[in-house]
């Protein structure tokens, strides 16, 4: 089963990187969902949330993006966002909830 190679990068750091089953992103013309085997694409993003379903299963990773774009080229997905978003991988730490401090 093919996977997507996903990188979410901001100007000063990599926000998330890994393999994913699906990526959904808010493009200026509506949300786009990307599965393996998607045609090459370059899309301008509007402010919103990028959702990534990791290949390893697990919870959906969310990242808030301000402005930026998304490129898809042969199962390689890159989300480039200009401003460093305050968004986080909310799902992961929240899931481990009670054990936290």
């Amino acid at each position: 089963m093919a996977h997507l190679d996903v990188d979410v990068v901001a100007a000063d750091r990599t926000i998330w990187s890994g393999e994913a089953r699906m990526v959904s992103a808010p493009s200026v013309e509506g949300d786009v969902g990307i599965l393996p085997g998607h045609t090459p694409m370059l899309a301008v993003l509007r402010p919103g949330t990028v959702r990534i379903t990791p290949a390893s299963g697990g919870e959906v990773v969310r990242a808030t993006v301000e402005a930026g774009f998304l490129s898809v080229d042969g199962d390689r997905v890159t989300v480039v966002t200009d401003s460093a978003p305050t968004g986080d991988r909310a799902a992961t730490p929240a899931g481990t909830g009670p054990a936290g401090h």
Partner: protein, 297 residues
Amino acid sequence: MAVSQRVYRQRIRSTQSLKKIFRAMELIAASRIAKARGRVTAATPYTAALTRAVSAVATHSDVSHPLTTERTDTNRVAVLVATADRGMAGAYSAGVLRAGERLIEDLRAEGKDVVLYAVGRRAVSYYAFRGREVAGSWTGGSDAPTYEVATEIADTLLDAFGAPVEAGGVAELHVVYTQFVSMVSQVPRVIRMLPLEVVEGVAPAEGTRAQPLYEFEPSPEAVLDAMLPQYIRSRIYTCLLQAAASELAARQRAMQTATDNAEELIRTYTRQANQARQAEITQEISEIVSGADALAS
């Protein structure tokens, strides 16, 4: 008699305290340089992604954009010079300024009018002292540039590039900065940032596989419109990060040399102080001896 012991002792003490300062500055630079290099590494994926995307657009569509088109209506060109905020970094700022001067001379020889933009207090004071006009300057934080500052600089320059002739538009943008090659080598470099020369990175594969057709959303023009300014910002940010790493490396080296020199100086002064002490003792002895001789005779 030569200078007295006391003077040498004073000099030794002051050199010792200078040495402590140099040493502290060297250590500070050394600890910051790791952070600066980390920032360069952290920014690399972003730059790489942008570069890939820009070259994809350039290859898969033949859209021309104002940022990639040569302007012929004006002969004003912008030069951005990135130096340090503080000295104590050896020839770092001087090297950049010299490269800048050469570039400006070349541009003038081509009959162009130069508009200066300066980053770092050294550049600002250099041009202020020579009474040259600086169109825009950014100071503070030259050893740890933030993306916000880079964005501000890029937006100012993009505005200048997009402005009509009457409003002081410029036809080109050159950036003078220092490239961080390694800890021991930093080279001043000049690059022409605008108009962009899009080098087609992807060689069109012949025959075997059809070129994948890119989908642009909403349109190739809109994608370029959003992407190119971001690309310029990222390029300028990279330049500033490189300059920051270079500045710290230059400072570390300069301070190391200064520390070594201070040690050398302390050694010399100690020798001279000992010599002076010896001379004083010898003199005292001979005074006593000759005094005793005079009394005995």
